[in-house]
């Protein structure tokens, strides 16, 4: 207990901030300025991607580190048009090696096009937004967003809870932070780098403190040996038996269709917000409906009305690349399970996919760009 006879004296003795002289004030402001600059450097700098630099040992199949490496290589300040494909595992398994698709698109369009598939297992809506938000502003880009019933089955509480849950290690974006705050009133944490870096460290990234301030040069990864079996693929084996696929379809019906039915309207709203944010001059957005195995037809029959509604509700009516009803004869060997493609399936689908993307890039007759 103190001897001061008034609370004012007690408060003065234990002031919340001792700045009574000019020297102390100068010291305080200088410290504040230095810490602010360092914090802003880490928060806004490009050095967050520890896997972009060389020296990181990443094996085929390590999907998250591979995604970070791919993003680090693709998201350079200079280069041609960028085609970024985000989505869940169905997207990650949909296309061939990025280098092959980049070459094909460059050849078709007659200009430098860089394609990068940044799909990942159970990629959340937030992650897709965050990956898209990292694309350098000075490059023309086409953003392809993979959609399926599972990806659209979320509501506000999912977006809020997953805002900082990024298994890939991609940092949360300020633009999504703002969008969530604006549309739901939920104020998320403004800090985004610590969780991102912590996640990359748990994934085994080698790093030093200097890496947080100065980004190291990006090192290109060697193309996959089989271009139709890219390193990121998590389904290298032969396709499952039909009975297994039917069991998966039944599981899908039991576990996901009701959630999809209840929540797709909320999910579509968020995808429309993503479209509104990223669609602008020099930046196009296309939603991609991915193909599925014939056993998935059992699910399709149940959700067809809702899926039609999804397509109608999406603002990007002209921006939907529907790869499902194309004239490609995809058989059961082309899908590992109900929705993940095999190398054979990728090879079959590639001409159709390239044609659709080329059209979206304005390189084909009937182009939309």
């Amino acid at each position: 207990m103190s001897d001061s006879s008034s609370l004012a004296e007690r408060m003065r003795r234990v002031s919340w901030l001792y700045i009574e002289t000019r020297a102390r004030a100068a010291g305080f402001l200088a410290t504040l300025a230095i810490l602010t600059i360092l914090a802003l450097r880490v928060e806004f700098g490009h050095s967050w991607n520890l896997y972009a630099a060389g020296g990181q040992v990443v094996k085929a199949g390590e999907s998250y580190p591979l995604l970070l490496q791919a993003a680090g290589k693709a998201y350079q300040e200079t280069g041609g048009d960028l085609v970024v494909f985000v989505g869940g595992s169905a997207v990650a398994e949909l296309t061939a090696d990025d280098s092959l698709l980049s070459r094909e698109l460059t050849s078709r369009c007659g200009r430098d096009i860089q394609f990068v598939n940044l799909g990942s297992s159970r990629q959340t809506y937030s992650e897709s937004w965050d990956i898209a938000a990292l694309v350098p502003e000075n490059r023309r880009r086409l953003l392809l967003v993979g959609l399926n019933p599972y990806r659209v089955s979320f509501d506000d509480s999912d977006v809020i809870s997953e805002q900082l849950h990024n298994p890939t290690g991609i940092p949360a974006s300020f633009s999504l932070w703002w969008s969530i705050a604006w549309h739901t009133g939920h104020i998320g944490s403004p800090e985004r780098m610590l969780t991102s870096l912590a996640r990359q460290i748990t994934l085994g990234a080698k790093w030093s403190l200097l890496d947080l301030l100065i980004s190291r040069p990006t090192v290109a990864r060697q193309p996959s040996e089989d271009p139709f079996q890219p390193d990121r693929s998590g389904y290298p084996g032969p396709a499952l038996a039909q009975t297994e696929k039917l069991k998966q379809a039944n599981d899908y019906i039991a576990i996901r269709t009701l959630n999809f039915h209840d929540r797709y309207r909320a999910g579509v709203k968020w995808f429309n917000r993503l479209f509104d944010h990223f669609e602008r001059p020099g930046s196009d957005v296309r939603f991609v409906l991915t193909p599925t195995d014939e056993t998935f037809g059992k699910v399709d029959r149940l959700i067809s009305n809702d899926m039609r509604d999804v397509v109608n509700l999406l603002q990007a009516k002209n921006g939907i690349l529907d790869l499902r009803p194309q004239g490609v004869d995809l058989g059961s060997d082309d899908f590992f399970d109900v929705q993940h493609m095999t190398a054979k399936g990728r090879a079959k689908l590639q001409p159709v996919f390239l044609a659709e993307v080329s059209r979206a890039l304005g390189c084909m007759p009937g182009a939309s760009r």
Partner: protein, 303 residues
């Protein structure tokens, strides 16, 4: 003094009534037998009633849709599922059946499994129950609430934002000190009060009421003519009673009734309580001679 006791009791009763109103909001469990229509283009949902066993067949794509409406609260509880003639699997891949973990043989010769289910989102949550191989018969599904998370008064994000704002404003606040100490104090009180208000109107009002009553108790202690233990006991008793209510009584009562409190623990209540006791004892010891309202609230809110 009897008036003060009455004020304290009325305040506590008001909060108690608010809590009691919330007691009607029990978590609700619903279960539906889900199957695909013969045409294959429709999902059929029939309510599952306890006492009427339902057989789920794998080849037909049958499942049991278990829905829990926690009324927007964050709760945890035990889901008890009883069945026979096969094994079942939850959508999170947990296996249910004889010999499985957390499962036991029931009196009817079937099995009964207990699964902990935690609800963290303010919506109706859903679990699907499927047969593992050919078929399984489900006889009953029940849920009992066991844990209830008290709503946090604030989040780390909000705290971080407030601290950032405070650091950003600190040079300006220090400058106001040169103009007037009173002005600086008013600004700090305003910022602190604003911060507490962001944690919720009810919590903010509870803190405000606590501080106002505390202020009058300190004034009462300062105005006493001679040493009277009763005033000290009243003041300290008030603080302890409020703390006891929020820290012990409300959480235990909520848990006992399977409910969560409508009122989050007011932000910094323990801190304010300790400071208030410090001031009351300083007043009683005579080391504190006077106290103004702004000084008091500045002392409580800004240090």
């Amino acid at each position: 003094m009897s008036r003060l006791i009455a004020i304290v009791l009325v305040g506590l009763a008001t909060v108690g009534i608010l809590e009691a109103i919330n007691f009607g909001k029990q978590a609700e469990l619903h279960a539906y037998h889900v199957s695909v229509s013969p045409g294959g283009n429709e999902l059929l949902r029939a309510p599952f009633d306890a006492g009427q066993p339902v057989t789920l067949r794998a080849d037909a794509g049958d499942s049991l849709d278990i829905e829990l409406d926690a009324k927007g609260k964050e709760i945890g509880g035990v889901l008890t599922i009883a069945g026979s003639n096969g094994r079942a699997r939850l959508s999170d891949d947990k296996l249910l059946g004889l010999g499985e973990r957390d499962c036991a043989t029931s009196v009817s010769g079937g099995w009964e499994c207990k699964v902990f289910w935690r609800i963290t989102k303010p919506r109706v949550e859903r679990l699907s129950l499927l047969p593992t191989v050919d078929a399984v018969t489900i006889t009953s599904v029940a849920f009992s609430t066991t844990t209830i998370s008290r709503a946090p008064a604030t989040t780390s994000a909000a705290l971080l934002l407030f601290l950032t704002l405070l650091v950003a404003l600190s040079p300006l606040i220090v400058m106001t000190r040169r103009v007037s100490l009173r002005l600086e104090l008013l600004i700090l009180i305003g910022l602190s009060a604003g911060w507490i208000a962001t944690t919720g109107v009810v919590s903010a009002l509870a803190i405000a009421a606590f501080l106002v009553l505390g202020y009058f108790l300190v004034r009462l202690e300062l105005r006493r003519r001679k040493t009277r233990t009763s005033i000290l006991l009243l003041a300290v008793g008030f603080v302890v009673l409020v703390l006891f209510y929020f820290k012990v009584l409300a959480p235990y009562a909520s848990a006992a009734f399977g409910q969560t409190s409508s009122l989050a623990l007011p932000l910094g209540l323990s801190y304010f309580a300790i400071r208030l006791i410090d001031v009351i004892f300083a007043a009683r010891a005579g080391t504190l001679k006077e106290v103004g309202a702004i000084e008091f609230f500045g002392f409580m809110l800004t240090l």
